[in-house]
């Protein structure tokens, strides 16, 4: 066999294999081109999840007719004016997208620039030029892609169902739309409008948030924390969801680096670290973060589809994201998501009383009926009455005197004044403009946990020396990695020394982790170090033990609390950070606004 250069067509198809993985990749590349062209309005239309037809129309700068053929050549681009890969300011730069797409589909490129009074249309089929003629078009560019992958049938076989492919397209459009709030983006699928994201009128946080909110779904806007920090020449802005608003996967976590959406594990691990105390392991918060860095400290030329990036100093970026998220979360204090209370409202069925006869003077046949109904209502209400009526009757007279809260002073206390306890589990409090229902166990558990946690941070970890030190076999690089961090590990309670080239010897362990599988612990730590550069496993396990202690040491459901106890719990919640959710991310209280209650009764 002779070595020879591959023909251009084959090269393009190979490149297409990397860049054009599925219809959504085509949409992504075309959409990014449009945004790079400065478009203010982009219309996307797909048929059969893009397998049949994809069309992207923009009102951007257009392509001059004499450059149109060149645009479809490999490595031809207008986006790298200085031929300098260290200074990438636009989304694209490789010059590969269009030729790659053209090599595996039937592509029409129609474009008109502002200085030209006529549009031109270039047709390419499977990478071969088929026609070049004048056409009608506004200023801007339209690219039609038909019969995607007809030239590489193998790829067709790997496509998922139409629904899945369409979901990918919608995801891609959403992600890009989030980063380009000044562009109107519309998506049609099979003639039906799927997305309509108008451009924001003013470039302020509120409008950006409302755009993100539209993309994430309506809860996010009212349940997020704003982030805006700057360190040296790096700026991080964006929004982090409250822990109580969470999902079962990480697909609602977005990081944009200089306007480019990246799916980087850096982000996921930062988010995990920052939310560690508030969420169970299998729940994920919603996050949209925009990172602005000078182009020379980020390398985007890592991944063909640019889904990953590399930073020259990962530590700084990581530190910035984690501390910004943590800071925002701490300031949130006891805020819990209102979506939980809205969901509760949705579940509230107005209690429909049966139509009771108003007076006793009814026919005999009715009165039997009346008794039955009366009985059943009495029965169903009796238990509630016992619990509710008596204490509240007392409240009416005594609350003001007993507890020192009158309605005038309520405004000073976000969680209001405790009015009563129901089912010996929930505290009902009255606030200035609504009511609060507190889960006493969850709330107290969190308070105890926060207390214990601040204690742990103060004290050093006791280390139990091992009579029989344990030798753990690892790979050589893992040993190096561990030994680099041996000081940090020692503070965490683990004393290790290298033992030969490919094992470490564990001499002391945290005393609290008495019966621990040391081998497993060390392996987890190595994983942590690789993933996060941090020793999380030990701390996680120690915190686990303490959260069990917290659970056992807190007020259980079913314990009767008096007014002083209830109010003191509420005041403590107000002053303790993170008291809005329990250790597993569930809310510790929900708030019903007066206007929501009024809505329930049809008053407004």
């Amino acid at each position: 066999m002779k070595i020879r250069l591959l023909p251009d067509k084959t090269v393009n198809q190979i490149a297409a294999g990397e860049v054009v993985e599925r219809p959504a990749s085509v949409v992504k590349e075309l959409l990014e081109n449009s945004i790079d062209a400065g478009a203010r309005e982009i219309n996307i239309s797909v048929i059969d999840a893009g397998r049949e037809y994809i069309c992207v129309t923009d009102d951007g700068c257009g392509i001059p007719y004499d450059e149109m053929e060149l645009a479809l050549q490999r490595h031809a681009t207008s986006k790298l004016p200085e031929n300098n890969l260290d200074n990438i300011r636009l989304l694209g730069f490789r010059g590969e997208a269009l030729p790659s797409i053209a090599s595996v589909s039937k592509l029409n490129l129609i474009s008109r620039t502002s200085i030209s009074d006529q549009a031109w249309k270039l047709s390419i089929i499977g990478g071969n030029k088929e026609g070049f003629s004048p056409a009608a078009h506004n200023i801007g560019t339209t690219i039609e892609v038909k019969d995607l992958f007809f030239a590489t049938p193998a790829r067709l076989k790997f496509l998922k169902t139409l629904r899945t492919e369409q979901r990918h397209i919608v995801d891609v459009v959403k992600r890009i739309a989030m980063a380009s709030p000044i562009t109107t983006i519309k998506l049609m699928a099979d003639g039906r409008q799927i997305l309509n994201l108008p451009s924001i009128k003013e470039n302020n946080d509120q409008s950006i948030l409302s755009r993100i909110d539209k993309i994430f779904g309506s809860d996010f806007g009212s349940n997020c924390l704003q982030i805006d920090v700057k360190r040296e020449n790096v700026t991080l802005t964006g929004f982090a969801g409250l822990p109580t608003l969470n999902k079962t996967n990480s697909s609602y976590q977005h990081l944009f680096v200089n306007g480019r959406s990246v799916r980087d594990k850096l982000l996921f691990s930062c988010v995990r670290v920052a939310y560690r105390d508030f969420l169970a392991n299998d729940r994920f918060p919603l996050v949209a973060l925009f990172l602005d860095v000078p182009p020379d400290i980020v390398d985007v030329n890592v991944h063909p589809a640019k889904a990953e990036v590399r930073f020259s100093d990962t530590g700084v970026i990581r530190g910035l994201i984690i501390s910004a998220l943590k800071h925002a979360l701490s300031n949130a204090g006891h805020r819990a998501s209102t979506s939980s209370s809205l969901a509760a409202l949705g579940a509230t069925n107005p209690y429909v009383l049966p139509n009771l006869p108003l007076h006793g003077r009814q026919t005999n046949s009715h009165s039997a009926n009346y008794h039955e109904i009366q009985m059943s209502i009495n029965n169903s209400l009796n238990s509630d009455r016992l619990e509710l009526y008596q204490p509240s009757a007392k409240n009416d007279e005594n609350t003001a005197k007993d507890t020192g809260y009158d309605s005038a002073s309520l405004g000073d206390f976000p969680l209001g004044a405790a009015r009563t306890q129901i089912h010996e589990t929930y505290i009902v409090a009255q606030t200035e403009d609504g009511i609060i229902i507190v889960d006493q166990h969850a709330a107290h558990e969190r308070l105890v946990y926060e207390e214990i946690k601040s204690d742990i941070e103060k004290k050093t970890v006791n280390r139990q020396c091992l009579l029989l030190p344990e030798i753990v076999n690892l790979e050589e690089w893992q040993v190096e990695k561990l030994c680099e961090k041996s000081d940090e590990l020692k503070t965490a309670g683990l004393l290790i020394e290298p033992f030969g080239k490919s094992s470490v010897i564990v001499r002391e362990i945290p005393a609290i982790l008495k019966d621990i599988n040391i081998q497993l612990l060390v392996e987890e730590i190595v994983d942590d170090l690789v993933e996060n550069e941090k020793v999380l496993s030990i701390k996680d396990r120690i915190t686990d033990i303490y959260s069990t202690v917290a659970c056992h040491g807190s007020v259980r459901a079913g314990r009767r609390l008096n007014h002083e106890e209830m109010n003191s719990l509420l005041r403590k919640m107000e002053s303790t950070p993170h008291s809005g959710q329990c250790n597993h991310g569930r809310p510790t209280y929900i708030e019903l606004k007066l206007k929501d209650i009024e809505k329930l009764f049809g008053r407004k």
């Binding site: 204690d455 103060k458 006791n462 139990q464 020396c465 091992l466 009579l467 029989l468 019966d515 599988n517």
Partner: protein, 372 residues
Amino acid sequence: MKLTIERGLLMKVLGHVQSVVERRNTIPVLSNVKFDAQSESLSLNSTDMDIDIVETVPAAVETSGSTTAPAHTLFDIVRQLPEGSQVELDNTEDSQNLVLNSGRSKFTLSCLPTEDFPVLSGDELPHNFELPAKALRTLIDRTKFAISTEETRYYLNGIYIHVSDVDGTTKLRAVATDGHRLAKVEVDCPQGAESMPGVIVPRKAVTELRKLAEEFGENIRVSVSDTRIRFSFDGVVFTTKLIDGTFPDYGRVIPTGNDKVLEVNTSDFSEAVSRVSAISSDKSRAIKLGLTSGNLLLSVISTENGSAVEELGVDYSADGVEIGFNSRYLLDITQQIEGDLARFTLADSASPTLVQDTSDDTTLYVLMPMRV
């Protein structure tokens, strides 16, 4: 099978064999006890596939035969029968069911076929010797507390019994450790044991054996092979599989160069330790021992509750030293010391400490400090 037996005797035997039976079993027949009636005796047999116990007692057998019935249920029933009553066991009418008659009570228990019951014991084991019951109790009691419960180092989940040469005389020695502390005790080596292999007796077997040991007679016949150990006495035959692993070379971790010697009254010391650690809410239960000439200062600091100190007059003349321990471990060891004086031999705050009973040179404890 049809027989009559006195309730007290049946309860005693059932009590022995049922405690081996696990509460939950994937193999149904393992929940049962096997009855085997021959001429004038009744044998009860239970197993968890690792431990096998057979006990034989006299009974008035009318028809010989065998069956299996649920062990825990049976024990519950017999326990509640009036004292002194006679119990009749009968499965002659219907082999699927065992009928238990006593006074005016009648219970019908469903049976499983005897053929399903695993046969584990029986064969002869190569090494045999007689061990005084008291010696066996000592071997177990002094070491049991140090057995590890952590499953990855499974070879530490038992007591290592082996023959060892101590200053020219052969001793039978038991050692247990959980990696934090170690307990070692030795007794005179009985004739016939000299050539036995070192064996690791698993924790559950040790616990069961210790329960039976309360009732041991004078001498216990011990049979050992590489994979099993058997204890026979008074009609009971207790066989267990051994842990298949190598016990670490514990001799290396017993320090020999420790030079600081502390002697303290055992009960004063353990009471003081227990008192000061009452303040500790921490699960690691750290306690600090500060030694100066003639004086021991015990201290515990708890971030939540405060602190506690107590001083003890002790016999100590070496250089001052400060060392931390898990108070639980200290108490576990002092509980084993029967003599008035406990001797601690230390080196420094990071090295293993030796603890001994001054009136008993057959036992030795090694304790690793905690870095407080």
